[in-house]
């Protein structure tokens, strides 16, 4: 049965690019959901069964780190794995994201192969 993924990014263009890369990555995703910031992502996770989340860090309203912290407080969704996908991949910020529960990080620019490698280990 195909997996469901949630893409969280304030850029509509980047959500399209990530969505295309997911289809090219060879992982069987039956549903690709989208959210424009962390708060929208929490709303989507509360209403849908999601297998994995790909989240940007630098977003307005609720950024990726704030999203991770808020998600960790909600028992029904706290165990859904999140991979950060961002231009911000310095050691400090990635360690901070991992301390809030992120399972990995993908640096922009990325390739479908890198997405396959990172998500394949989680699904």
């Amino acid at each position: 049965m195909g997996k469901t993924v949630l893409i969280v990014d304030d850029s509509n263009t980047m959500r399209k690019i990530v969505s295309r890369a997911l289809r090219q990555a060879g992982i069987d995703f039956s549903t690709i959901l989208e959210a424009g910031d962390g708060q929208e992502a929490l709303d989507v996770l509360s209403a849908n069964a999601v297998d994995v989340v790909l989240s940007d860090i630098n977003m307005p309203n609720m950024n990726g780190l704030e999203f991770l912290k808020a998600k960790a407080e909600i028992p029904a969704i706290k165990d859904i794995p999140v991979v950060m996908i961002s231009t911000e991949t310095g050691a400090d910020i990635i360690n901070e994201a991992k301390s809030y529960g992120a399972k990995g990080a993908i640096k922009k620019p990325f390739t479908p192969e890198l997405i396959n490698e990172t998500l394949g280990a989680l699904l």
């Binding site: 630098n58 307005p60 231009t87 911000e88 050691a91 640096k107 620019p109």
Partner: protein
């Protein structure tokens, strides 16, 4: 002209891996607030001990070609998709430059991407900043990547 090679490496990497376009770098230069005509600029601000901006300036024709390749669909006018795509390109370039300038990732803060466009506008230099601009070409079209940095203290 410090950082020119980093700009070239980052730009060629982003364009080849995300847009499937091979771009050729020209000779780096210092841009003198020249007006930009029928263009769009994606801009990211850098804040912290090292501050400045990273900008990508594209004539409309180049921006349409890049966005079309980026999205995998034909784009015929400067719309939200084009502004978003050029802003996101600036964001990726700035993130790459940040990893060079601030490997730990905690000293330099990046702004959200913004896009400026129009028939005739200028993007001014940060006072006291060192600046380098690299021209690139692809398929007979061109664009500029500009980095301005000022380190206080």
């Amino acid at each position: 002209m410090e950082h020119a090679q980093h700009i070239i490496d980052a730009t060629q990497d982003i364009f080849s891996s995300m847009i499937m376009l091979e771009v050729t770098a020209g000779e780096p230069f210092v841009r003198n607030n020249d007006k930009l005509i029928n263009s769009i600029s994606g801009i990211i601000g850098l804040a912290g001990p090292t501050k400045g901006m990273l900008a990508i300036h594209m004539a409309n024709a180049a921006a349409l070609a890049v966005t079309s390749a980026f999205l995998g669909m034909e784009v015929e006018e400067i719309d939200d998709d084009v502004r978003d795509a050029i802003g996101e390109l600036a964001n990726m370039l700035a993130g790459n430059m940040k990893s060079v300038l601030d490997p730990g990732g905690s000293d330099i803060k990046l702004s959200m991407p913004s896009a400026v466009y129009g028939e005739d506008y200028s993007v001014d230099c940060l006072a006291g900043a060192q600046s380098v601009t690299v021209p690139f070409t692809f398929d007979g079209l061109g664009f500029l990547v500009e980095l301005q940095l000022r380190t206080d203290g």
